[in-house]
Amino acid sequence: MSDATANMTIYLKVWRQASATAEGKFVDYKVDHVSPDMSFLEMFDVLNDQLVKKGESPIAFDHDCREGICGMCSMMINGKAHGGQKGTTTCQLHMRKFKSGDAIVVEPWRAKAFPLIKDLVVDRSAFDKIIQAGGFISAQTGNAPDANANLIPKTVADEAMDAAACIGCGACVASCPNGSAMLFMGAKISQLALLPQGQPEAPRRALNMVKSHDELLFGNCTNHAECEATCPKEIGLEHIARMNREYTKATFTYHEKARGGDGA
């Protein structure tokens, strides 16, 4: 910390909770020697170093790649998921976006479907359950098919890629006033619905994933679009619309028995 530019002082109000069942509370911390070039997570590393040296328990927070592609970091910063900077995750948010002396409130994602594990860490395995319900395709074994065996227009491939950019961080749920996971699910259904590889399971996928979403106690989408605004991958509401179409189509055209009754 001899860096002369590490001259910011930040006042943090952080949610501390020892376990899922323990009583949680906000604790105030003063972090000195913060460099404007640090990411928000690196500022937490500095604070945790100080806490460990003092013999206190460091603040638990999720992080992994620190380059905005893993979807692990998950902090509600001053009331905004990932801090509210457009198209970025918490690890891509730099302290230069703040001023020395700023007070910053940091909370975990709040959703019934994301139970708290510790401090700022929540259990997002509800997303895995939605994927397990239908976010997969059947692939043939054997040699890899020829790259051009399935013709897909560039625009369609691009749109599927836009949806596939979802890193499953959960900012959509955290920022949705209704705690709904429709943007996450919309992205996952969209990316497969757009491509030929996703067609065989398409109706069952839509029906089963939505069923799973509802059972996991996520809220209902009321088209506020807070999710779209906070999504670090800037996934749009058009993917929720496509999911709505897929679901409607499956409801009115798909009949299990007519297709051999595989019990899905």
């Binding site: 959703a111 069923k211 679009a225 779209e228 906070t230 709505n244």
Partner: protein, 224 residues
């Protein structure tokens, strides 16, 4: 009920689509209601003849009333259930939650509250006029209810008029979000058309709510 039907009616997307469908149905009713009420601008006879004609449709009146009541009950019931689910889905509340400014609007955030105002308004509205004071009149030898007098007497009170303007502001806010939202719920989202639909929704909200509010103010100013 087959599993596909029950699944649709209990799923989040299915219920939302029913809310959207009934909402659009009610939007359609409001336009018809407003166009009919424009006769209030013309004369007492014009309005009374219109109301008389409408009530002489016999069984069709009951069919229309039952349809409207059904749409309204479904819209309200499903919306209440959805709102309760949405409130509980958060679990522990945020200490600090700020809007991004690119998503949630005052209109979208207040849907349950403006909806509640409209529900109270609707109950009072039916009591005040349909089941309000009954006067009779004769136009060209035909006896009919003088509904115009019931209406115009009601709007002599500045408080009553103010309440109608407030309720119509709630209607404007509710439909400005609801109209365009319904299309998204049905899966219609298009780079070119959706922004235009949003504008159409706002135009609809201003026209309908503004039209009804204008009638209230017009009758208040005009006097009995």
């Amino acid at each position: 009920m087959s599993s596909a039907v029950s699944r649709y009616f209990t799923s989040s997307i299915g219920r939302k689509q029913l809310i959207a469908l009934t909402g659009l149905g009610l939007c359609g009713f409001l336009v018809a209601h407003l166009l009919g009420n424009f006769t209030l601008f013309i004369s007492s006879d014009a309005f009374n003849l219109y109301a008389h004609k409408l009530m002489s449709l016999g069984p069709l009146v009951y069919v229309a009333e039952a349809g409207l009541a059904g749409m309204f009950a479904l819209h309200l019931g499903l919306a209440i259930k959805m709102t309760i689910e949405n409130k509980t889905a958060r679990g522990q509340k945020y200490y600090m939650k700020t809007r991004t400014g690119r998503g949630e609007t005052l209109m979208s955030a207040t849907m349950p509250y403006t909806g509640l105002i409209l529900f109270v308004f609707l109950v009072l509205h039916i009591l005040q006029f349909k089941f309000g004071p009954v006067y009779n009149t004769e136009i060209d030898g035909v006896f009919m209810r003088d509904l115009y007098r019931t209406v115009v007497e009601y709007f002599q009170s500045p408080l009553n008029t103010a309440w109608y303007v407030i309720a119509m502001s709630a209607a404007a806010m509710h439909t400005a979000h609801g109209f365009q939202s319904a299309f998204q719920t049905f899966g219609f989202n298009h780079g070119t058309w959706t922004p235009k639909l949003k504008l159409l929704g706002i135009a609809y909200a201003v026209f309908v709510a503004g039209g009804f509010a204008a009638i209230s103010i017009f009758l208040h100013v005009k006097g009995a």
